[in-house]
């Protein structure tokens, strides 16, 4: 019975070159020492690893599981040990590395327990599909689409044609040819399994007529089982093996653009995939090996090998007797659609059906492209009736709308156009690049659209909140007005001399009340005296802030006057600060600890502020006369800060030791010292980092400006001092800390002995940790900002001036806070 076949438009007849590799039976590739298994060898989501480095695995064991519907699991191709899960070169046109599980084989090749099926006819098709999925079977023809996804019947699609693709239209490749010759029985059984799943009314096996032996073998196998599968010999023409092209040849139907063959009631599977399905169901073996053609004139022994997935390609090349100096390019896949390999350490993956090691004479380097003469040779050979020459022009013009109008996305990238192009224009590359550009462009547009919606939603939300607030305010005002009116009327009635109690004062009073309550709740531990001081301080602060803002906006001559004012206020602030001491005299409570923490934060902020000031100073250095005075001030601040740092570090421990009872005083001390040491270490590290930064900046500056250089040198010097001092402190602290045996910073010890104390300490240490974290982050920030400032700026604008003044203000505040703390200590100690 002869099946009617249709023709496809276009097509080319490149030299077959299949003779190189088709004369030899399939050999088994040797077991490699290492197997490299990319987590993604299929279309869809990468698999999720199930093993860890060091795990022993057996052959066929699942080592990574599917992550989602369109995804596949991965199995160990041989027994051995998982060495690492790391990025490794994979066969991909980009030559990039992707996460792979690396297995060191033990040579035993020991199988795990396999779940074979006695009689597949007795199994539900749903179960069969699940088994196919669990075996990790992807399309072995090259695309790597998970086979189970293709087979999972959707209720609205009735499959009436099953097409088995054995065309192998690409030159060089003979893997499917040999597979059909040697495993025709298995393929036919595999087809029977597929029939059980999709229940088609006809089965067509398309094989190009250049494989007469394969056709004969298949026909024999079918006849021996008296099945009604049709083996359809097709005229040899590239690219008849494309899924859409094969469907057109065998059925005369075209898969509508943007749809799937299943929408036509057709399922198409490669013969290699069918064999893998057979293995998965009948023997229970997952997809861990495949048949790959090793060919090309640079190989002494080209042929087909049965190779484990994950085998490094250089192992295979050695096996096939490659002459490395003859290889000009290594192609994965066929010469028409394959891609070149960057790294020969890349492994064989599920989709690698051929490796071509070609010499320069065999596949010469592409000739320089000439201009397109619109000869139309490309459109003559295009199997999907595109106008490649027009696409080429529009690609060059990046005219996306025209490209889409010319159906660029129906291009199957078969390469027939380039093959026939007399001007040697790399057309396929143009189309690939344009497709990627269009996709990226569309994704960006979509994202922009999405961002717009989010932005507008946010604006609307903020507006709504604002409106609600306004409405509330209005309602309040109205109520107040009403109240006032009623009061007024009452006052009129009573004829009393009650003071006019307008809404504003009422609100003000309420605000003040609430603030008072808040203050009390926040600063429960603070005395009234302190409170007064605090309020005073905040007022001065506010005044200072206001002035500074003014300073930033006013002209230069006025600025000086304002700055004098600021200076005065700063002095005032400083004066105010030591009066705070009474608070420190109180025994340590959580509240004071909180202050302690605050101090630390302030300290860190001060440090950042110093850095910022320095940066700003460097910026305005050349322009401003104020620079000199600012710098001297900065220096004084820095020395102050340094002192604070030291005193803070050294003197932090004693107050806490007081907390402990006599019995565990030592322990607490050790703990505290441990914490101190840690802190100092971090401080030292930060200082070190700062030093390095400064040095780097110094080096940069040295290249650029000599004027700046001196400043930088001074900075570096200062930083060095800081580091040495910090180190000294560290040494001081660590010496006593090391002395007691087994210093334990474990809070749980204390919990056992004195629960309350332990709890407190725990809290304390966690606070400490937090503090350190913040400190660290702050220092980081300061370093970063300083670094950013190190890039020379030309303008000393008002913004910068303001930032200097602000930084100074912050520094002052922090200094004061630290002063407080250090002033307290003698009283306590």
């Amino acid at each position: 019975m002869t099946q009617k076949i249709w023709d496809i438009p276009g097509g080319v007849h490149p030299p077959q070159r299949k003779k190189l590799s088709d004369h030899q039976a399939i050999r088994k590739a040797p077991l490699p020492k290492r197997l490299i298994l990319p987590l993604q060898q299929h279309i869809g989501a990468p698999a999720m690893p199930l093993v860890n480095p060091g795990d022993k695995v057996l052959k066929g064991q699942k080592i990574a599981d599917a992550d989602g519907f369109v995804s596949l699991p991965l199995h160990a191709p041989s027994s051995g040990t998982v060495v690492e899960i790391t990025a490794h070169a994979i066969p991909h046109p980009s030559g990039m590395a992707e996460p792979c599980i690396v297995i060191e084989t033990d040579g035993d090749d020991r199988w795990c327990a396999l779940d074979a099926v006695e009689n597949f006819r007795s199994i539900e098709s749903e179960d069969l599909v699940n088994r196919i999925r669990d075996a990790g079977i992807a399309g072995l023809g090259g695309a790597g689409f998970p086979s189970a996804v293709k087979l999972r019947a959707r209720p609205e699609q009735e499959i009436n044609t099953l097409i088995i693709n054995g065309t192998e239209c690409e030159p060089y490749i003979t893997a499917d040819d040999l597979l059909m010759q040697e495993h025709s029985e298995k393929i036919i059984t595999g087809i029977e399994i597929l029939c059980k799943i999709v229940t088609p009314s006809e089965v067509l096996i398309g094989v190009e007529d250049n494989k007469p032996q394969a056709i004969q073998q298949l026909q024999q196998a079918i006849k021996s089982r008296s099945l009604n599968f049709d083996v359809v010999p097709l005229p040899t023409k590239y690219p008849s093996g494309g899924e859409k092209q094969l469907i057109q040849i065998l059925t005369g139907k075209e898969v509508p653009s943007g749809e799937l063959p299943a929408d036509l009631g057709i399922v198409c599977q490669n013969v290699g995939t069918v064999k893998a399905i057979h293995d998965a169901i009948i023997t229970g073996k997952p997809l861990i090996s495949r048949i790959t053609t090793l060919t090309g004139e640079a190989l002494a022994e080209p042929g087909n090998v049965d190779v484990l997935i994950g085998t490094p390609i250089d192992d295979l090349l050695t096996f096939a007797g490659a002459e490395p100096n003859k290889i000009q390019r290594l192609i994965i896949g066929g010469p028409m659609m394959g891609y070149t390999l960057h790294d020969i350490a890349s492994p064989i993956v599920k989709t690698v059906n051929c490796v071509i090691a070609s010499t320069a004479e065999e596949l010469p380097s592409p000739a320089p492209a000439q201009a397109c003469i619109r000869c139309g040779a490309c459109s003559e050979v295009c199997p999907v009736n595109l106008l490649p020459q027009q696409l080429y022009w529009h690609s060059r013009a990046k005219d996306y709308s025209q490209l889409k109008h010319h159906n660029l996305f129906d291009c199957i990238e078969c390469g027939a156009c380039f093959y026939s192009c007399p001007s040697h224009i790399p057309l396929v590359q143009y189309y690939r690049a344009s497709k990627a550009d269009i996709r990226a462009h569309e994704a960006m547009q979509q994202k922009a659209e999405y961002s717009k919606i989010r932005f507008e939603a946010r604006e609307a939300r903020l507006q709504q909140i604002e409106d609600e607030k306004a409405a509330k305010r209005k309602a309040n005002a109205e109520r107040a007005a009403k109240l006032k009116a009623s009061k007024e009327s009452a006052a009129l009635k009573n004829d009393s001399e009650a003071p006019p109690n307008d809404a504003k004062t009422e609100i003000d009073a309420a605000v003040a009340r609430s603030r008072k309550i808040k203050d009390v709740s926040e600063d429960q531990a603070l005395s009234t005296e302190e409170k007064a001081l605090k309020i005073q301080r905040s007022m001065v602060n506010a005044q200072l802030k206001k002035l500074q803002r003014q300073c930033a906006n006013c002209p230069a001559d006025e600025q000086e006057k304002l700055e004098r004012d600021i200076e005065r206020l700063n002095q005032q602030l400083l004066k105010l600060s030591p009066d705070n001491s009474p608070s420190a005299a109180t025994p340590i409570t959580p509240a004071t600890l909180k202050i302690d923490k605050e101090n630390n934060i302030k300290h860190a902020m001060a440090k950042a502020a110093v850095k910022k000031t320095r940066r700003a100073l460097a910026k305005i250095d050349s322009e401003s006369n104020e620079a000199v005075s600012l710098r001297s001030e900065l220096e004084s601040q820095e020395t102050k800060l340094k002192q604070l740092e030291i005193t803070l570090a050294v003197g932090h421990a004693p107050p806490t030791t007081k907390q402990g009872t006599a019995a565990d005083e030592d322990k607490t001390l050790i703990t505290k010292l441990g914490g101190e040491e840690k802190k100092l270490k971090i401080a030292a590290a930060i200082a070190n980092a700062a030093l390095r930064k400064a040095e780097r900046a110094y080096a940069d500056a040295a290249e650029n400006q000599t004027a700046e250089t001196d400043l930088r040198a001074a900075e570096v010097e200062k930083c060095k001092q800081i580091v040495t001092e910090a180190n000294k402190n560290l040494a001081n602290i660590s010496a006593p800390a090391d002395a007691p045996t087994a210093p334990s910073s474990n809070a749980s010890n204390k919990v056992e002995q004195e629960p309350e104390q332990g709890k407190f300490q725990e809290k304390n240490s966690s606070d400490e940790l937090k503090k350190l974290k913040i400190l660290h982050a702050m220092a980081n920030a300061a370093v970063k900002k300083a670094q950013r400032a190190a890039e020379p700026t030309t303008q000393g604008d008002p913004g910068q001036q303001r930032s200097i003044v602000e930084a100074r203000k912050k520094l002052d505040a922090a200094t004061k806070a630290l002063n407080d703390f250090t002033a307290d200590k003698p009283v306590e100690g």
Partner: protein, 353 residues
């Protein structure tokens, strides 16, 4: 080992631009020989002279444009343009006619547009039209074909050479060796029936002009060879000849004095076959899709007939080709083929988004 990394495909067919151009040049040989046989050595001298001018001009402009001269000269496109123009120019046209025509074709018609592949108009036809408009006297003076009693024609190589390069002073009197072409005579005919015309003027022979029939048949042979070698598709020449045939049938007008000449006369006169297979098939300036080429060719055939019968010039191939060159981009937009998986072909320009 350093591996080459390029996009697929890695295999390339034997075709190249230079090979295509050489094939086309080769296919003009029968026509050129026939021209020499009937109209003397002038054609050969013109061919060589035009080729020299073309290569010089091309090299000059490439040099000016800082392009690798050898690489671009190696595509033979300049030579092809020169050959086509030389075959279209009257065999005994003076040397400066060829010089002006060829240099205009190469420099302005081709290189100033960006070189091969970027010219919107067929360079050879641009050069031809320039000459036809600027020097009508020289361009319509065709040598008389051999074999007519009483007209000597051009005798030998020396005579032909002398008339093209009048170095030795004794220029031939133009009327002594030229005759109006059959198309010219047909167009100018007012009072004679076709039979009378054929009887009165020895230029007519068989269904067409003396010599012209053979020249056209020779070009047809060359064209068929190119079709066989798949240098171009059949669409353009068949559409062009088809529409010319159709026009000549519709507007035949009988054997009387008002007749426009028979179909065979039009197909085998003037530059019909040269135009159909060598000029209209120039890929750069024609439509790209097969359907587009049908329209493009049909347009050329129609315009040729219109110009021949009702226009101001005896032959209209050059004008027809240039006019359709202008229309080619528009034709392209409306003749996209139906792509696999699409129900209908797309038409027109894409909507701007």
């Amino acid at each position: 080992m350093s591996l080459l990394n390029v996009s697929s495909p890695h295999s390339h067919g034997p075709g190249s631009t230079a090979r295509l151009m050489k094939l086309v040049i080769l296919a003009t040989v029968p026509g050129a020989i026939t021209l020499c046989l009937f109209f003397g050595w002038g054609t050969l001298i013109n061919l060589i002279w035009a080729g020299l001018v073309a290569i010089t001009c091309e090299a000059l402009v490439l040099k000016l444009r800082n392009r690798p001269v050898a690489f671009y000269l190696g595509d033979y496109s300049a030579l092809l343009s020169a050959v086509l123009l030389a075959l279209a120019i009257p065999p005994l046209a003076p040397w400066w006619i060829t010089l002006i025509g060829v240099s205009f074709a190469i420099i302005i018609g081709k290189q100033l547009y960006g070189g091969m592949g970027y010219n919107p108009f067929n360079p050879a036809m641009l050069g031809y039209v320039l000459l036809l408009i600027s020097f009508p006297a020289q361009m319509t003076a065709w040598a008389a074909p051999t074999g007519i009693d009483g007209v000597s024609g051009v005798q030998g190589f020396a005579q032909a050479f002398n008339s093209i390069f009048p170095i030795f002073g004794n220029v031939l009197e133009i009327d002594a060796y030229t005759l109006a072409t059959p198309l010219d005579v047909m167009r100018e005919n007012k009072g004679l029936t076709i039979d009378e015309l054929w009887a009165s003027n020895p230029i007519f022979w068989g269904v067409g002009g003396r010599g012209w029939i053979w020249v056209n048949l020779a070009f047809l042979a060359g064209g068929l060879f190119l079709l066989y070698r798949r240098v171009f598709t059949w669409h353009t020449p068949v559409a062009m000849l088809g529409s010319l045939t159709l026009m000549s049938i519709i507007f035949y007008g009988g054997d009387g004095s008002t007749g426009n000449g028979s179909t065979a006369f039009h197909l085998l006169s003037g530059a019909t076959m040269l135009g159909a297979f060598f000029i209209a098939t120039d890929p750069v300036t024609s439509a790209v899709s097969n359907r587009g080429r049908l329209i493009y060719g049909a347009g050329i055939g129609m315009i040729i007939y219109i110009i021949r019968c009702w226009g101001g010039y005896p032959d209209g191939v050059a004008f027809a080709v240039l006019l359709m060159n202008m229309a080619a981009p528009t034709i392209d937009y409306y003749t996209q083929p139906r792509t696999y998986g699409h129900k209908k072909p797309k038409k027109g320009l894409a909507k701007q988004d």
